[in-house]
Symmetry: D2
Amino acid sequence: MTDRVYLLERYDDVRRYTEQLAAPLSAEDQTVQSMPDVSPTKWHRAHVTWFFETFVLASNEAGFTPFQDTYWFLFNSYYEAVGPRYARAMRGVISRPGAHDVGGYRHNVDARMRELLTRVDEDTLTKIAGTIELGFHHEQQHQELLLMDIKHALSLNPLQPTYAGGLIGGDADRLGWKEYNGGLVEVGHESASDGPFCFDNELPRHQAWLPPYRLADRLITNGEWLEFMADGGYARSELWLSDGWSRIAADGWDSPLYWALQDGVWMEHTLAGTHPIDENLPVCHISHYEADAYARWASKRLPTEAEWEHAARFEKVVAANLADDQTWHARAAGAANGSLRQLFGDCWEWTSSAYLPYPGFQPATGAIGEYNGKFMSNQMVLRGGCAFTPTGHARSSYRNFYPPSARWPLTGVRLADDG
Amino acid sequence: MTDRVYLLERYDDVRRYTEQLAAPLSAEDQTVQSMPDVSPTKWHRAHVTWFFETFVLASNEAGFTPFQDTYWFLFNSYYEAVGPRYARAMRGVISRPGAHDVGGYRHNVDARMRELLTRVDEDTLTKIAGTIELGFHHEQQHQELLLMDIKHALSLNPLQPTYAGGLIGGDADRLGWKEYNGGLVEVGHESASDGPFCFDNELPRHQAWLPPYRLADRLITNGEWLEFMADGGYARSELWLSDGWSRIAADGWDSPLYWALQDGVWMEHTLAGTHPIDENLPVCHISHYEADAYARWASKRLPTEAEWEHAARFEKVVAANLADDQTWHARAAGAANGSLRQLFGDCWEWTSSAYLPYPGFQPATGAIGEYNGKFMSNQMVLRGGCAFTPTGHARSSYRNFYPPSARWPLTGVRLADDG
Amino acid sequence: MTDRVYLLERYDDVRRYTEQLAAPLSAEDQTVQSMPDVSPTKWHRAHVTWFFETFVLASNEAGFTPFQDTYWFLFNSYYEAVGPRYARAMRGVISRPGAHDVGGYRHNVDARMRELLTRVDEDTLTKIAGTIELGFHHEQQHQELLLMDIKHALSLNPLQPTYAGGLIGGDADRLGWKEYNGGLVEVGHESASDGPFCFDNELPRHQAWLPPYRLADRLITNGEWLEFMADGGYARSELWLSDGWSRIAADGWDSPLYWALQDGVWMEHTLAGTHPIDENLPVCHISHYEADAYARWASKRLPTEAEWEHAARFEKVVAANLADDQTWHARAAGAANGSLRQLFGDCWEWTSSAYLPYPGFQPATGAIGEYNGKFMSNQMVLRGGCAFTPTGHARSSYRNFYPPSARWPLTGVRLADDG
Amino acid sequence: MTDRVYLLERYDDVRRYTEQLAAPLSAEDQTVQSMPDVSPTKWHRAHVTWFFETFVLASNEAGFTPFQDTYWFLFNSYYEAVGPRYARAMRGVISRPGAHDVGGYRHNVDARMRELLTRVDEDTLTKIAGTIELGFHHEQQHQELLLMDIKHALSLNPLQPTYAGGLIGGDADRLGWKEYNGGLVEVGHESASDGPFCFDNELPRHQAWLPPYRLADRLITNGEWLEFMADGGYARSELWLSDGWSRIAADGWDSPLYWALQDGVWMEHTLAGTHPIDENLPVCHISHYEADAYARWASKRLPTEAEWEHAARFEKVVAANLADDQTWHARAAGAANGSLRQLFGDCWEWTSSAYLPYPGFQPATGAIGEYNGKFMSNQMVLRGGCAFTPTGHARSSYRNFYPPSARWPLTGVRLADDG
C-alpha cells in the first residue's frame, strides 16, 4: 500500500526546502542568467513546480486547467514531447512572472497537489506515486543547481556579494590509498520497482569486469593543485587531452574557476564570500580536462565509474558534507580513518567514464523518458555528491553527468591507480 | 550671472522624471537586458547618477569620495578616460545593486548635488553650470532610452506585459508636400556659450548648399507600409541596399520590429500592450535599410539632415507628441495644416546622412569629449524626436544617430524628393 | 633480425600508393580545403612525408638538415612536442609549396629514407623499425583521409566533378542475425612488440564482460534508410540524442550527407559522380547521432566496440571491399552466407562506445605519444574499415574514432541487439 | 559614330593585361581565397569574362548559349537580378574550372566578343558601346583587386613568396601644404553620355559649399607612422573612433597590416617580398580608423571627398605611380614641386566622407544598376588610385569605397586642415 502520509510530508519538506534556499536571494538575484548553462533562481522555482503540474496534475486532477497557459511554455526545460519551449539562453530576459509571482504559482500547485494526495483513490495513488517520487528527486537536483547557478551569477558581480555561510578550515591528512581486488562485480542500482528510489540511468544492475585497482582515500587539495600549477600544469601540452588544451588557448584557463590572483594572493569566490585559498580544502570547480591533466601529472588516473561504485558500496553516507550542513563549500578531509573520506558530499568527483547507457537500459515511456537517456552523449560521469547536494540525495549508484569542459558545477578530483 | 535657482529646480525636475518613468517597472523588469544594445532600467537610473557624481561632484565636492568604488566601474558607459568599465553586454548579470539600492544611490547623489548647488560660490557655479546642464540633457536621453529598452525586453516575454498608456487612433490625412528653394543655407545650432543648450555635435553652425527639394508633410503610415509589404517590399532585392538585403536573409525580416501575424491579423507590440495594426498610425521601429527601401519603392528618397533642419527652422515645437503626452506611441497625423505634421515627436526620422562631424567640429576637452564625437562612424542621423522624448529635449538642430540596422529605437519615415 | 628488404619494399609500396591516389587530382583540386575538418590533398602528401623526416630522419640521418625549415611548421598536424604549427583551418590558404613542389619534397625524403634503410647498421635498424612501420600505417590512414576529404571538396562544386570509378550495384539479401554468448572475453590486440602491427590505442589486451548479444549480418541499406525517413525519422525528437536533435535544428539535416533531392529523386554524390540512390547499397555518410536514431527507430541498438571485436575475431578479412577494389564506394551485401557480411570494408561502423583508453593504456613516449591518446574525449569508436581503407589496414582490433557529429567519413550502420 | 576599331583594340588590351597580371601565379596561387573579402585569381579572371558574356553577349549574340550553365552561377559576383550565385566566402573551395580551364573560357568569350564587335550593325554597336566600355573599366577594377587579393593570400604563407618587382626607395621631402579658398564648387564628373567614361556614382555633377582648407602635398610616410606608434598611437583611446578602438581590442592591431616585428626590426610584406620598413615610403594598408586616428594625433583631419576632388581638378595624372610602372608598391614622394605629390597612384587616400549617393543620383536600369548604388552604406570614400591601379583608370572624380575597417586594399593617408 502506498504511503499517503509519507508522500504528503515528503512533498512539503522538499518544496519548503527550495524556498528556504531561495530566501536569501533578492528579486533581482533570482532574475539573472549569467550564461546559457545556468538558469535564474526563479526559473528553477517555477520549473520544478511545472514538473508536478505537468506530469502529475495534468492527467490526474479533475477538470485540470493550467495555472497559466504561458507557464507551460516558459517553464518547460527540455521535454520535446510536452511541446515547444522558451529558448534556454533567454531565460534571463523573462522579468515576469517575478519572484513573488512564482511564489504564487508554487502556492497554487502545492494546494492542488495536497488536495490530490489527500483525496485521490488508492489505486491511482499507487499508479502515480513513482512520478511524484521522481518529482521530489527532480526538485532536489534543481536545489543543487540553484546553488551552483547563483554562485556563478554572483561571481561576476564586482560587488562580491555573498549568499550565506562561512568556510570551515581544518586539516587534510596525507593522502592514502585503498586497494580493491576487482573481478566480476555488480554495477547499478538494485531495483526500481520497490525499495529506495533511483533514476532510470542507474539501471539495470549488471555485471562488469574490474582489474585490481586502488582509490585515493580523499580528494585532491588546493595545496596539491598549487603544486601542479607551480610545475607548469596549465602550460604543458603533454598533460592534456587535445580538447582540453584547446580550451586553455581559447578561454585562458590558468587556475580553477573562481580563483583570482589579487596582489600576489590566490583568492577564491565562494557562496560565503571571497577568501584566500586554504591549502587544506579540496580543489573545486575544475573541469574534467583539468582533473584528467592533474591525474596524468601525478602519474595516476581518474577512477572509472564502476570502480568508484564498487568501492562506494562498502561505505556509509554519514557525516558527509551535504547541503544540510550549510557549509556551502567543500571541507577539509580531516584525519585518515580507513574509509574513503569525502566520498558522499564536498565535491562531485569526475570519473574517466563517458556517460553512456548501461547494458539493457530502457528509458521510461512518454515525456518522462527524456529525463536522462537523451543526454548520453559528450558528457562524463561524476559520482558522490557535493556540499550543495540535499541530504538523502546521495547514494553509491547515483550517476551525475556534465560536459568535460564544465567548471561551474561543484566538482573535485579523487585519484585512482591500477592495483 | 548663472541662475542658481534654475539649476536647483531643473535638477529636481529631471531627476524626478526618471524615477517617475521607472515607477511602473518591477525590480525584475529593471534588471533584465534583452540584447547587448539595450540596458537594464536600473542601470540607466544608476548611470545618469554616476554622470553627476563623476563629472560634477568628483572635482567640486570638498573631500569627495565615491558613494561606492565599485559603482565607478559598474556604471561607466563608455568613457575610456574615466577608467575601465563593466562589459556592456553583461549588464543584465548584475543583480546588485538592486533597484532599491539604486534608489539609495540616487538619493545620496541628489542630496550632495543640492548641497553643492546651494553652497558653491558664484564663480565655480558659472564654471560648472555647462556640465550640469549637459547632465540634464544626458539624463533626458537616457529617459528616452529607458523606454525604448524596456519595450524591447517586454516584447520578448510571452506573457505580453504592458508598461502603461493606451494607443490613440485618429485620421492620417493624405500625404502632402512642402517645397523648399534651398541655396546656401545655415546648418547647426546657433551657439553653445550662451543661449539655449545644444550638444557639441550640433556645432559649429556652418553653410551648406542645398538644391531645391520637397518634404512630405507627414510620416508614412502603417497602411502605406502594408502596401509596400503587399507589393513584395521585403522580397525584391532591387529595392535594398546590399547590407540591408543581407540582414533580411540573416534575420528573416519581413515586417517592422514588434509586428507579428496572429491568425491572419498583423499585431503590434507597444508599451500599452499588443494591438491590431492601426493603418492610420505611423509605421514605427523600422531600420534605416527599411526606410531607404520604402523610399526607393515609392520613387522618392529620404531627406538629408541639412534639408530636414533647414525646413524645421520654420516650424514650431508645439503640440508635438512627446513623452509628456504619455501616449507612449506615435499618433495619427490628423488634418493637413500647411506645416510639417509630426515633425517634433511621434517617431525619430531617418535621414540619408551619415553621422559625421560638421566642418570645424571640436569635441569638448577631457572625458566629456567622448560624449558624441567618437561615435561618428557607421551610423545614420535621425531628426525630430519621438513619443518617448522628454518635452524640451526636441529642437531643429538635434542630431540623433543609430546604426542603419537598428530597429528598437522608435523610428519612422518621412519622404523627400528633388524640387 | 629486422627485415631490411621488407622495410625497403614496403616503404616504396606505401609511398607509391599515395601518389597513385593523388594522380587524378589537378593542382587546384589538391589545394582546396572545404572545411576545417578536412585537409588539402597536397597537404596530406606533404604531411606523411614530414612524418618520416621528423620521426625517422631527424634523429638518424648523419648531418641532418630539414628539406625546408618552413615545412617543419607547415606540415606538422598536431604534435605539440615538435613545435608550433600552421593553423589547421588555414591549410587551404597555402598555395606554395604547390602540388609539384610537394612531389619534390617526397622525392627528396624518399631518397634519403632509402639511403638510410640501405646503409644503417643492424642495431639502429632494429631500434627504428617500429617507428618506420608506424609511418607506413600513418600514411595509410592519410590515404583514406585524402579520399574522404577530396570527396567533400568535390561535393561542393556545382560542376559535379568525379574522381574515378563507378558504382557497383547488386542485391542486399535480407538482414539476418548472428548470436554470441558473450561472457568474459578478451579485447585488444595481442601484442605490439612482435607479430603484426597495431596502434597503441588497441592495447593492452584485457578482459571484458559481455552479456549475450546479437549482431546484424549486414549493413543497413539506403532502402531501409528511406523507410526511416518516410516514417519521420528526422522529425521525431524521441528518436534522438539531445545533441543530435540540436544538430538537426542548427544544420537542417534531413538525409545523409551527399544526398540531394532533385526533381523528386534522391541523388547521391560519390567519387564516381552523382547518381540516383540505389536501395541495395549501404547507407553512407551518416553521423553517430543518425546511426543511433535509426537503431532506436528499429527498436535495436548499436554494438559496443567489445561486442564488435569479439564477433570479428571469428571472421576473415577476405573479399572485403577496400581501396584495392577501386570501387570507391560501399557495395551491396550480396547473399547471406553465415558470416558477418561487409564487416571489413564498405563503411566504418559506428559503435555505442565512447573512445576511451583501455585499462592500463600507456601512450608511447615522446611526440609519438600524441598519436592517439590525446584525442580520447568527445569521440565515438568506429570499427571495420571502408571502401577507402588501404588493403592490409583493416583488422578486428582496429579502433577508428570520430566526433559523433562527423558525416564526411565513409560511415555506415550495423545493428545489434541483446541476446 | 561609335569607334569600332577603338573598341576592338581596347578590348584586346584590357583582356590581355589581366592575363599578364595572372601570369606569375601558379594554378595553386590562383585557387586560394585567404578571407571572405578577397577572391581567387582565377575567379577574377572568370568573373570579368562572365560580365561580357552576361551583359553583352547574352542579349546581342545570335543563338546565344552560355559557355557553361554552371559558370553563370559560379562567376556572378553580386548581381541579384541575374539569378542565384555561389556563396562568396566559398570561392576558395571551387577547384574546377582550374586556372587552365578559365583560360579556355576567356578564349571562347574573347573570340565571340571579337566576332560581335566586328560584325554587329552600327546601331546596335552604338547601343551596346556603353556597356562594353563599362566592361573595360570593370575588368580594370578587378585587375587592381586581383593584386590586392593575391598580396593578402601570399602574406599568410610562411614561405614568404614574392609576386614580382622590387621596392624603389628615395627621399620623401618634408611635408608641405597647399591652400584652397573653397566656396561654391562643382563636384562630380562632367557627363556620362559623351566624353570620357565615368561610373554612375560619379554623377550627377553638382554644387557643394567648401570653407577654405589646406591639403598636405604628399602622403604620410612610414617614418611618420613610426612616430605615431612610438607615441602610443595604438594605445590611446582618445585618438580613436569607438568602432576603431573596438577593432584594436578584438584584432590586436598594433601596426599597419603586413608589418611584423622580427628581431627588433619592423618588416613589411610586399608583392616584391618582405623587406625592412623604409621610412621614406608612404605608410600603406591602414584602415580608415587608423588614418583618422593618425590625423587626430597630428591635430589635423582627413579631407572630405569634395575637398580632394576640387583640389585634384587642377592636377595632372602624369608620372603617377600606377600599375604600368610595375613597382607594385607605393614610392617615395621625391622633392616638393608645388603640386600635390602622389595624388594619382601610390595609395588610395581615405577621405572623411561616407560613401553616399550624390544629390540626384540615378543608378543605371537593370542588373547593371547594382554596380555601385547598393553599396552606399557603411563604407568610406577613397580617392586617387594606387600602385595597383591600371593606367588610365585614375581620374579626379573617381570614387573608390571600402568599409572603414578594411586594411587589405592599398591605402594611405593624406592630411587636410581648415584653411
